[in-house]
């Protein structure tokens, strides 16, 4: 059973489109995250949700909007995609804020 799952694994789209990435965790964790990993493997946190409420929102364009319908899901919607959005996006979860995080397999987004 996959602890943290993301869909889709690959996403290729054109500039200006709107797309969503879904994340689900079956670990019963309270906190979920979205990270962006660039081509140099640098991992940067984008958002953190605790019990469906936003607790961290790093400097991210407001084209990115996370949505947490329940504690087990944190989806990422991106409007008006730009070339610079191309990256691998990872979802993660942790039992509480600041504890060990479990990562999903990543979604490779390519904007052409």
């Amino acid at each position: 059973d996959t602890a943290v799952s993301q869909t889709p694994k690959y996403l290729v789209t054109q500039m200006g489109n709107d797309k969503s990435i879904k994340c689900e965790q079956n670990l019963g964790h309270d906190t979920m995250y979205w990270y962006k990993q660039d081509s140099k493997k640098f991992l940067k946190i984008m958002f953190s949700y605790n019990n469906k409420e936003l607790i961290i929102n790093e400097t991210v364009p407001n084209r990115f909007s996370p949505k947490s319908p329940d504690k087990a899901h944190l989806n990422l919607h991106i409007n008006s995609l730009e070339l610079g959005d191309s990256a691998v996006y990872f979802c993660a979860s942790s039992r509480t804020s600041g504890s060990e995080q479990y990562f999903g397999p990543g979604t490779r987004l390519t904007v052409t």
């Binding site: 140099k40 493997k41 946190i45 600041g98 060990e100 479990y102 990562f103």
Partner: protein, 113 residues
């Protein structure tokens, strides 16, 4: 973590040798540190953690050392195997930043057979 430079530092070791991966962290208020392993095409995977009240912690074939005086963290892998080839990240939990984990830039470990 390691300086966020323009390239990914690479450590190349012979199979069977010991590996040491280093990480310099930035925040003296950080109280918890984690090492993650990321294999190609996968998400980061927890390896071992250490709290700031410890200076050493051992796992299976891995040891983490923490030197708070110089803000340095290292991961030692004994008898390195081809399956250890991956990118390794250190992460620090910053108490004064909402318990957020901040990741270092990563080190690529290549194991030569």
């Amino acid at each position: 973590g390691e300086s966020v430079g323009l390239h990914l530092p690479t450590l190349s070791v012979q199979e069977g040798d010991n590996s040491i991966i280093n990480c310099a962290y930035s925040n003296s208020a950080s109280d918890y540190f984690i090492w993650y392993k990321q294999e190609s095409g996968k998400g980061p995977q927890f390896i071992i953690d250490i709290r700031s009240n410890m200076d050493k912690r051992q796992g299976q074939r891995v040891t983490v050392l923490l030197n708070k005086t110089v803000k340095h963290l290292s991961l030692q892998i004994a008898a390195t195997q081809p399956g250890d080839s991956a990118v390794y990240f250190c992460a620090e939990r910053e108490r004064n930043a909402g318990n957020m984990l901040t990741f270092g830039g990563g080190t690529r470990l290549m194991v030569k057979p």
